[in-house]
C-alpha cells in the first residue's frame, strides 16, 4: 500500500502554478474562464523565457485587473483602446512581446475600430480575445457576441435580431485582414481544450518573435455569474450553444 505522502514529494511534482502568477487571489467568480487563460498566458511567457521582454495591456471589463496576477510590466487601457495602446508600445519597443487581453464588449463593441485597424496594420502584437457573450463587470448586459434568444440584463426577453442585431463573428472579420498572420478560436472547458489553447497562445507569441504581424486568439469562454448557472452547467451551455455559432479551430494560419 502506497501512502499519499510518498507520492507528494518534490521529485514527483508534475503540475503546479506558474511562477509568473502572483500570489494575489484572483477577483474572478468561481469557475471563471479568465483564471484559466491568465494561467496559460503566464505559463507560455514562462516557458518561452520572455518575462523581461513582455508588456501586457489590460482592458476595461472583468479582466481590468489582469495586471494584479501576471508578474510582468502592464499598461491598463481605456475601454476598447488596448490595441491602440499596444500599437504605441510595440512601435516604440519593436523588440518586445506586446499583447492585449480583451473581452467581447471591449474588443468587439466599444473597441471595434481600434482592433480592426491594429490588425489591419499588422501590428506585431498578440491579441487575446475572451468571448463569453456577455458583459461581466457591469452586471451581465448584452454583448455584441450575445446569442439570439440569450437572456441578459439588457435583453430580458432574449436577444432579438430586430431590436439588437445579430451575434457578431468578429474573429472571422479579423481573419479577412491582411495584417493578421494567425487567427484561431479555442476554448478552455476541458483538459484537452486547455492544452490546445496553450499551444495557440505559444504559437502567437512565437509569431511576435518572428515579426509576422498580428496573432489573434479567441477563447470561447463562460460567465457563469452572468449566465446565472453553475460553472459546470456553464461549460455545458457553452458547448451546446456557443460552439454552434462560434466553431472552434484555426481560421487563418500563414
Amino acid at each position: 500500500m502506497i501512502d499519499i505522502q510518498d507520492i507528494i514529494k518534490p521529485e514527483n511534482l508534475v503540475y503546479e502554478k506558474s511562477s509568473l502568477l502572483t500570489d494575489n487571489v484572483m477577483h474572478y467568480c468561481p469557475g471563471c474562464t479568465h483564471g484559466v487563460v491568465h494561467k496559460l498566458v503566464a505559463e507560455v511567457i514562462e516557458e518561452l523565457g520572455i518575462q523581461e521582454q513582455t508588456i501586457g495591456v489590460s482592458p476595461v471589463g472583468c479582466s481590468v485587473f489582469a495586471y494584479n496576477y501576471i508578474d510582468i510590466d502592464w499598461a491598463e487601457a481605456a475601454h476598447g483602446r488596448a490595441p491602440a495602446v499596444a500599437t504605441g508600445i510595440s512601435r516604440l519597443h519593436p523588440e518586445k512581446y506586446v499583447f492585449t487581453y480583451q473581452g467581447d464588449g471591449d474588443l468587439a463593441s466599444i473597441g471595434c475600430g481600434e482592433i480592426m485597424h491594429a490588425c489591419n496594420r499588422g501590428e506585431n502584437i498578440v491579441v487575446i480575445f475572451i468571448n463569453n457573450a456577455i458583459y461581466g463587470m457591469t452586471g451581465g448586459q448584452m454583448a455584441p457576441t450575445t446569442l439570439l434568444g440569450q437572456v441578459t440584463a439588457t435583453t430580458p426577453y432574449g436577444r432579438d435580431a430586430k431590436l439588437n442585431g445579430f451575434p457578431m463573428k468578429i474573429t472571422e472579420l479579423i481573419a479577412q485582414l491582411d495584417g493578421t498572420c494567425y487567427v484561431t478560436r479555442q476554448s478552455a472547458d476541458t483538459p484537452g481544450a486547455v492544452r490546445k489553447t496553450k499551444n495557440a497562445l505559444k504559437k502567437a507569441f512565437q509569431n511576435t518573435r518572428l515579426q509576422k504581424g498580428t496573432s489573434f486568439v479567441e477563447v470561447v469562454s463562460t460567465c457563469n455569474s452572468g449566465w446565472k448557472v453553475t460553472p459546470v452547467e456553464a461549460n455545458n451551455w457553452m458547448r451546446e450553444n456557443m460552439f454552434k455559432k462560434y466553431p472552434l479551430g484555426d481560421i487563418k494560419d500563414i
Binding site: 518575462q51 523581461e52 521582454q53 513582455t54 508588456i55 495591456v57 481590468v64 485587473f65 495586471y67 508578474d71 510582468i72 510590466d73 502592464w74 499598461a75 491598463e76 487601457a77 481605456a78 483602446r81 491602440a84 495602446v85 499596444a86 500599437t87 504605441g88 508600445i89 510595440s90 512601435r91 516604440l92 519597443h93 518586445k96 475600430g113 481600434e114 480592426m116 485597424h117
Partner: protein, 359 residues
C-alpha cells in the same frame, strides 16, 4: 551658426519635434493642422533619428497610441484641432490620471460642433480646466509666433517630464498657418535606453527585469486611496502654479489701462496698443504665455495701477473669467471677442476699449 528659415507654424511643430529628440508622433488629419503630420511623413525622421510617425485610424486611437508610447517613458506627441481634441479628451484624462508625460498640439478652429476651419480661441476652457472627466489639468502653453511654436515643443516636453503630466501647445489657425522667420533649434539626440532608465526608470514599462513589475493604470476601487491620489495630483498642480507661470508684459510701466490677450489675439493687440497710445491712451498688454498655470498673481498685482482691463479673445469670453477671478472685483474687467473663426482688427479693439471705458 543658427539655422533660420521661413516656415509655417504647423511645419515648425514637425521640425521641432524631430530636432528635440521626439520618439513618436501619432496623429490624424484635420484642418487647420494637417501639415504637422504631412511634414513629418515627408521628412521621414525614422530614417534620420529613429522617430516613429504613424497615421492612426482616429484621434481616439492616436491619443491612446500616445498613452502607450508614454507608458514606455518615451517622448511622444500628437496634434489635432478642436473637434479632434474633443475626441482626444478620453485619452488625455487617462494620461493625466496615470501621470504620464506627453505633448499635445491643438491648432484651434471655430466651434461648436464641426464649426469652421478658421482660427478661434474658443477652446480655452477645454484646454485649461481639464477637458475630460475628473480633477486634472494640462500644462498649457500659448504661442504667439512661429518661433514660439518651435520653442514650445522642447519646453512642452521638458515640463511634461518634469511633472509627469500632459502638456499642450494651444495655438490657433493663425499661428498654425502663417509663415514667419524662425530660428530652428539645434538637434538633440533621442534618449537612449540608459537615459530613459535614469529619467523614468521608477515607473516606465521597459520590461520587468531585476525589479518589481511596473503597472500604468488610473484605476483604484478604494475611494479613500483614490482621494489620496487626487491630493497628490493637486499638490503637483500647486507646485506647477508656483513655479511655471510665464507671461510677457508690453508697455505696462506707465499704463492706466491693460489689455490681456494670448496667442494670435495678443499679436493683433500689439498693434491696438500702438494705435491707442497714438490716441493718447496709456495702455499696456499682458500676454499670458502659460494659460495653465495662469498668471493670476501678475494680474492681481496690477490692480493698484490699472483703471480698467480688457480681455481680447477670439471667443465669447473664456479667459476673461480667470482675469476676473484674479482681479476679484477691484478693477473693471471687460471682454471683447469675435467668434466662429472671425479675427478682430486692431482698430475694432481700440474702439471696444474706448467704448468700454468711456475714453
Amino acid at each position: 551658426m543658427a539655422e533660420v528659415k521661413l516656415m509655417k507654424g504647423n511645419e515648425v511643430i514637425a521640425e521641432a519635434a524631430i530636432r528635440c529628440g521626439c520618439d513618436g508622433y501619432f496623429g490624424y488629419p484635420i484642418t487647420p493642422q494637417s501639415e504637422v503630420m504631412e511634414t513629418l511623413m515627408a521628412r521621414k525622421p525614422w530614417e534620420e533619428t529613429g522617430m516613429v510617425v504613424l497615421q492612426a485610424e482616429s484621434e481616439l486611437a492616436a491619443i491612446n497610441m500616445v498613452y502607450g508610447g508614454a507608458c514606455c517613458g518615451k517622448k511622444v506627441m500628437t496634434s489635432s484641432s478642436s473637434p479632434g481634441i474633443s475626441l482626444k479628451q478620453e485619452g488625455l484624462t487617462y494620461i493625466a490620471g496615470a501621470e504620464l508625460p506627453c505633448l499635445v498640439v491643438d491648432v484651434v478652429r471655430g466651434g461648436p460642433g464641426l464649426g469652421t476651419i478658421q482660427p478661434a480661441q474658443s477652446d480655452y476652457f477645454q484646454a485649461t480646466k481639464g477637458g475630460g472627466h475628473g480633477d486634472y489639468h494640462l500644462i498649457v502653453l500659448a504661442p504667439a509666433s512661429v518661433q514660439e511654436m518651435n520653442d514650445f515643443v522642447d519646453l512642452g516636453f521638458e515640463l511634461a517630464f518634469k511633472y509627469r503630466n500632459p502638456a499642450m501647445i494651444l495655438a490657433d489657425g493663425v499661428i498654425g498657418q502663417m509663415m514667419e522667420k524662425v530660428q530652428l533649434s539645434p538637434y538633440k539626440p533621442r534618449w537612449t535606453e540608459e537615459e530613459i532608465e535614469k529619467i523614468s526608470g521608477s515607473w516606465a514599462l521597459t520590461g520587468k527585469k531585476g525589479r518589481e513589475r511596473h503597472v500604468i493604470t488610473s484605476l483604484e476601487l478604494d475611494a479613500h486611496r483614490q482621494e489620496d491620489f487626487n491630493k497628490k495630483l493637486q499638490a503637483k498642480y500647486r507646485k506647477i502654479e508656483a513655479n511655471e507661470v510665464r507671461f510677457e508684459k508690453i508697455l505696462c510701466e506707465d499704463a492706466d489701462y491693460l489689455i490681456i490677450a494670448y496667442g494670435s489675439a495678443a499679436r493683433i493687440c500689439q498693434k491696438s496698443i500702438e494705435l491707442a497710445r497714438e490716441a493718447g491712451i496709456k495702455i499696456g498688454l499682458l500676454r499670458p504665455i502659460t494659460l495653465y498655470p495662469f498668471p493670476t498673481q501678475a494680474i492681481a498685482e496690477m490692480c493698484g495701477q490699472i483703471k480698467g482691463m480688457l480681455t481680447v479673445e477670439m471667443s465669447a469670453g473664456q479667459m476673461v473669467e480667470d482675469v476676473r477671478l484674479a482681479v476679484n472685483g477691484r478693477v473693471k474687467v471687460e471682454h471683447y471677442g469675435r467668434m466662429g473663426g472671425v479675427v478682430p482688427t486692431p482698430e475694432e479693439i481700440v474702439e471696444a476699449l474706448k467704448n468700454n471705458f468711456e475714453l
